[in-house]
Symmetry: C2
Subunit: 405 residues, 2 copies
């Protein structure tokens, strides 16, 4: 991490851990019925995951600090019920009995029409099969719910712990041969494999989530407090333009069309601005993350949180599917890095630095991370921090993990 | 088209037209202010587009027939106000005056904070720029709104015209050097260029649109009529399973997790089934299209239409960006084709048939379409229509356009 000097305490926070997930004790029920399998040794049953995460705080470091201390514990907690299921190669059970009775659901009892005592016809097909659910999707579900529990904990403890602000969260979990990369916010992860760039996340901003946000605003107009319109306009409309035709788009549209300006269109657009300057409700530039429970529109009583999602998008990379060389890495970075250094430049630095060290030098990955951060910060000149190309360096905290595959 | 014999009148309908878009007369205002430009000749001002579309009807052919007769006219209507703007290389105007007064908006008046007489700070960045809107995105907006107007017309005229059912709509519009491919439903378009497959659409089904549908159901539970739950389960839950733990996912999740089964979970899931058998509200397998205004859940008063979207996704292919050979084509097909013949097989047939004709034989593209349809139908044997690999042929109407690029 490099602190940009915006705040005394880093707004970027990070965590790197090896976590042991101990199977939850289960005196009876599904687990005991399988106890004779002998797959696991007599000690404490469980599994390990490796964990790296970056938290880019805003409006204070409180949420970022707490998330960096706890998110992996929430992931561990969500995985505790899955230890035996994940280690069993057979498909995960759809239903777990809560007591000793055996699971005897009739898989043929499944049609809406049957329930209603009607004769089946073409419009109501009979569906007999169970949907297959993979082990991988259980891990994804566990990570998704862990983010939700983390957000709930920040909400509960924000008063007593004096937690200010919110944070983006980007986490990489290595479990049973696969990397799970979970992202909520505008940090980014890429894999560089044999010089090729494989995106492992996408950014969640007012622009990328426009249609979700506009849809919510349309269905729950009371959340806009009469100050905002759910329509997007390319610029603010002035009262004297009433009756003219203006370009707009709504929650259904990706293109633009003209509409006659009405009174309601004079409100401020829910989504406004472009690129790094895009804001939701004129306030925030990221639309997923943790915290922000008290965030309101400037000098108003309109809450932002209902529009924010704490759920990450999780992408999976199966390490066993590819051959990897010592120069193949997973790079995690906050927007302080990516705002000034693009994927290709990062891949260039990775290859340049790694090839300048012996393949078995344990420091080479650390040196890449350091080089990425230093280059993105730039050098202090008379006209501020400047990059090698004389453009302005990142004015933001910069954090990077470089993880060999 | 091959009629599968499910209905006397084809449920698949098609249209292929060259359409002239005549500029809307505008005696005063923005258009007259530019009249001296002399870009256009003295005759009727306008532009042409080429148009191909497939409409796959369900529960009757009425909506499909009407859409095949009218959708291109709605697209034409939406484009009429854009004729001059699209032909002008300068960026489209953000605002059009409705009278002779000139556009004099102050681009610096745009900040939420300024409006509220507050001092600016970090949280409320000042945004001064207009968003750039491309010509292309105006065409996309015009097509999107044309689909909406088409759907509205079906709603208005369904009683007097005896229009039954609904339809998927897939349209390819060639305008000013670009193909715009608009899809609402489960038809599909691909480009085959130099043997490479370029997807030009994606399907909209209960599975691909699950999160949008669950989000709507969560925010508007009254639309579910107490019969459905917005949660997804891998199979139907039985009353005696109350209290057990079942896999589920909600509108935020892509993975699965276990939850304790409660009373409310015994309702039928909004989204149920897998692949071609996935249904929304146990009724319909496509979630975008035209019509279906009267569609209800079997033997209930629950309307399906609020969950359906009539808006297409529009993808753009710029013909001027690539070199094309006479074997490069755009293929449009209804699901009757794609259910039994995948992208790669279609590309194989295209190449096989095209190379068996002289490059300048005008029939060669028609022969490809015919071959695709006939192969997907199969041959009538004792055990029904069979494909070359002895699998069952498509039991659905099959329609294909093969369009040289």
């Amino acid at each position: 991490v490099i602190n940009a000097g915006k705040s005394q305490h880093n707004e970027d926070q990070a965590c790197c851990e090896v976590v042991f997930v101990e199977q939850r004790p289960s005196p009876r029920g599904w687990l005991s019925s399988r106890e004779g399998s002998g797959e696991l040794d007599g000690g404490r049953k469980g599994l390990y995951f490796h964990y790296w995460a970056l938290f880019d705080g805003h409006a204070g470091s409180g949420a970022a600090v707490m998330a960096s201390e706890r998110l992996h514990l929430h992931i561990c907690e969500q995985l505790r019920d899955l230890v035996e299921i994940l280690q069993d190669p057979s498909p995960p059970p759809i239903c777990l009995p809560h007591n000793t009775e055996t699971d005897s659901a009739d898989p043929n009892h499944m049609s809406y029409a049957e329930d209603h005592g009607e004769v089946l016809n073409d419009a109501v097909p009979q569906i007999h099969l169970e949907k297959a659910v993979s082990h991988e999707s259980l891990v994804i579900g566990a990570i998704e719910n862990a983010f939700k529990h983390m957000d709930d904990q920040i909400e509960r403890e924000r008063a007593s712990q004096h937690l200010a602000g919110g944070c983006c969260a980007l986490a990489a979990i290595y479990l049973m041969g696969k990397f799970y990369v979970a992202n909520a916010g505008d940090s980014r992860a890429i894999i560089i494999r044999n010089g090729e760039i494989i995106p492992m996340s996408r950014e969640f901003t007012p622009e990328t989530e426009r249609q979700r946000l506009q849809f919510l605003a349309l269905l729950r107009p009371e959340l806009l407090g009469k100050e905002f319109t759910h329509l997007e306009f390319p610029r603010r409309i002035q009262p004297k333009e009433l009756g003219k035709k203006m370009l707009y788009r709504d929650q259904n549209m990706n293109g633009w069309a003209y509409k006659k300006i009405e009174e309601d269109d004079l409100k401020f657009p829910l989504i406004f601005g472009e690129g790094k300057k895009a804001r939701m409700m004129a306030t925030i530039g990221v639309t997923r993350g943790l915290g922000d429970h008290d965030l309101k529109v400037f000098s108003s009583n309109i809450h932002i949180k209902p529009f924010l999602s704490c759920f990450p998008e999780v992408r999976v990379y199966d390490l066993t599917q590819y051959e990897h060389c010592p120069d193949d890495v997973l790079v995690l970075g906050t927007d302080g890095l990516w705002d000034v250094t693009n994927d290709k430049e990062v891949a260039g630095v990775v290859m340049e630095v790694l090839t300048s060290y012996e393949p078995n030098d344990p420091c080479r990955y650390t040196m890449v991370a350091q080089e990425l951060v230093v280059r993105s910060r730039g050098v202090l000149k008379e006209r501020g921090w400047r990059l090698a190309n004389d453009k302005l360096g990142s004015g933001d905290d910069i954090s990077v993990f470089v993880i060999p595959l």
